[in-house]
Subunit: 321 residues, 2 copies
């Protein structure tokens, strides 16, 4: 007799692409595909195309796997309602009942949350947070996203919109944020944030600016830092300094065992981890010092979105995880 | 046949006094006494005296009540270990296994957490947070204490020391805090904080300072505000302004349904609530605006400590609460 394994779909709806795949209980990705989100002005059309492909693939694996559910990561995803609500980087208008749409087409349970929350569960189920009950997951991408796990559960809040650490106001009257307010953490600590910092530093030394009008991106700043460029190193140090303070403040809320950094900036290794940890320990309240780890995420950059979404439904279906 | 009700002891260990009492399932306080904590340099002696009194009283109620447990609120209380660890405002040294001491003498289960956490559970079981799964509880006393409830559970963190919102650094290089760092929230938003603010404001107008060297306390500032005194009103406005920003930032972590304010400053009514709510709404991220309530605690100032400690063990013993 063959014991059937569980198979789930992980779907990540992004502003540009929707990435989806099939994942087994051990975190093996058996299918990975993508479609261009913006080619589907009507969400039902995207759901139809994605579900067709998933169904075909599920059928091919049906001798070995039971297909049991769908996890979805999406901007402004509401876990309680299974909807996307007015996501600013999607063209879809109003409230889209995405979990219901997928669930009806695939005849399995579907759950949905925002992408950073899904990735946090991915870290807990398949990554470095295995066995942890209290941790923070921080994505340093274009913005700063976060997922907070406490008492072994994702903190969703009363409206499912908890965990927006990127929009904590760190410096009142600081940098203008896309959210309309000023001084939000993500205006400093993100790919966009370090670009602003680097550009501010270059303005002090216009003779060193050989970008000829182009804007440096985070990769360019990293390459410069590797070469020992003063302003690039200072940009990383400043970013880490601010991030360390913000993370020290975050500890006062949930006292996590560890904080995981994910995303482009986190791949800069010591350039970002060293100043972050230094500032973190300096700014921590005494009772928290020298015991909370700041670690790189163990999820692969390219797999995190699918694994996160998949782990969300796996955790939901299997209380033992 | 008489149905026996549950009876628990609630004990609040403070730097000056230890208040203790017996509480039934409905929150009726059947006994309320206190001893001077500082008269007991050895914790075992305090436990012995308190337990003798509790036993005597429990016996008197034994025809109607089953005595089932002890809840303890104490500074630096560690829930997981049942200990007090190096509490700065207690004379007891090192780690005191307080839950074990009470449990052994009274032959019932004993649980322990810090006083603000206990009061938060008190608000959930007997106060304004009944039925809420996500809320913040803020005590504005000498310092600023906090208890965070998310997913229906107290957030304790990996070390049981979560929920120190008073020590979030709001203004780097701001006011010196007793914790050794600068700019902590409680240096602005507490009885001590408003005194500093008022005193700073008076320095700008020395001709209005008729305290003749005495230091104004929070009650004095409140009385002045009632009389329409400009600096007193400004002190409340500034305190509310800072508190509103800090609470707006806090929402980005756990997105609570409501935030309860407790303690002396919270009794100042509109003087503190109005500027706090105004600043809160102004500083909130759009998705949180106009839906999160800032409310006065429904626990009576004098009963909160005992009720909080009692509700901690009641919640532990009765999963239905």
């Amino acid at each position: 007799m063959i014991t059937m394994q569980q198979l789930v779909a992980g779907i990540d709806i992004g502003g540009t692409n929707t990435v989806f795949g099939l994942v087994d209980e051990k975190g093996n990705i058996l299918l990975k595909e993508s479609v261009a989100t913006e080619h589907f002005p009507i969400p039902e059309d995207l759901v139809a195309v994605v579900c067709e492909r998933i169904k075909k693939s599920v059928a091919a694996f049906s001798h070995k796997y039971n297909f049991v559910g769908v996890g979805i990561g999406a901007p402004n995803g509401n876990y309680f309602k299974g909807t996307i609500e007015f996501a600013p980087n999607l063209k879809w208008e109003g409230i889209v009942p995405l979990a219901k749409l997928f669930s009806e087409r695939l005849n399995v349970k579907a759950v949905l949350t925002n992408d950073a929350n899904a990735a946090a569960i991915g870290e807990m189920v398949f990554g470095g947070a295995k066995g942890m009950k209290d941790f923070l997951f921080i994505t340093l991408g274009t913005g700063l996203g976060s997922g907070i796990v406490a008492n072994g559960e994702l903190i969703l809040g009363h409206d499912s919109f908890a965990g927006e650490i990127g929009h904590v106001i760190l410096f009142p009257d600081g940098r203008q944020c896309g959210c309309g307010r000023k001084g939000c953490l993500e205006t400093y600590c993100s790919a966009t944030g370090i670009k602003r910092t680097y550009s501010d530093l270059l303005m002090r030394h216009p003779e060193k600016n050989n970008l000829s009008g182009k804007v440096a991106d985070a990769k360019y700043i990293y390459d410069k830092a590797v070469q020992g460029d003063t302003e690039a190193l200072e940009a990383f140090n400043y970013t880490g300094d601010v991030l360390g303070l913000a993370l020290a403040n975050s500890v006062a809320y949930t006292s996590p065992e560890a904080i995981f950094l994910f995303g482009g900036l986190a791949l800069a290794g010591d350039f970002i981890f060293k100043p972050t940890i230094e500032s973190f320990e300096r700014n921590l309240l005494n009772i928290y010092k020298n015991k909370i780890k700041i670690l790189p995420s163990q999820l692969k950059e390219n797999d995190a979105a699918i694994l996160g979404a998949a782990s969300l439904i796996l955790k939901e279906l299997n209380e033992f995880i």
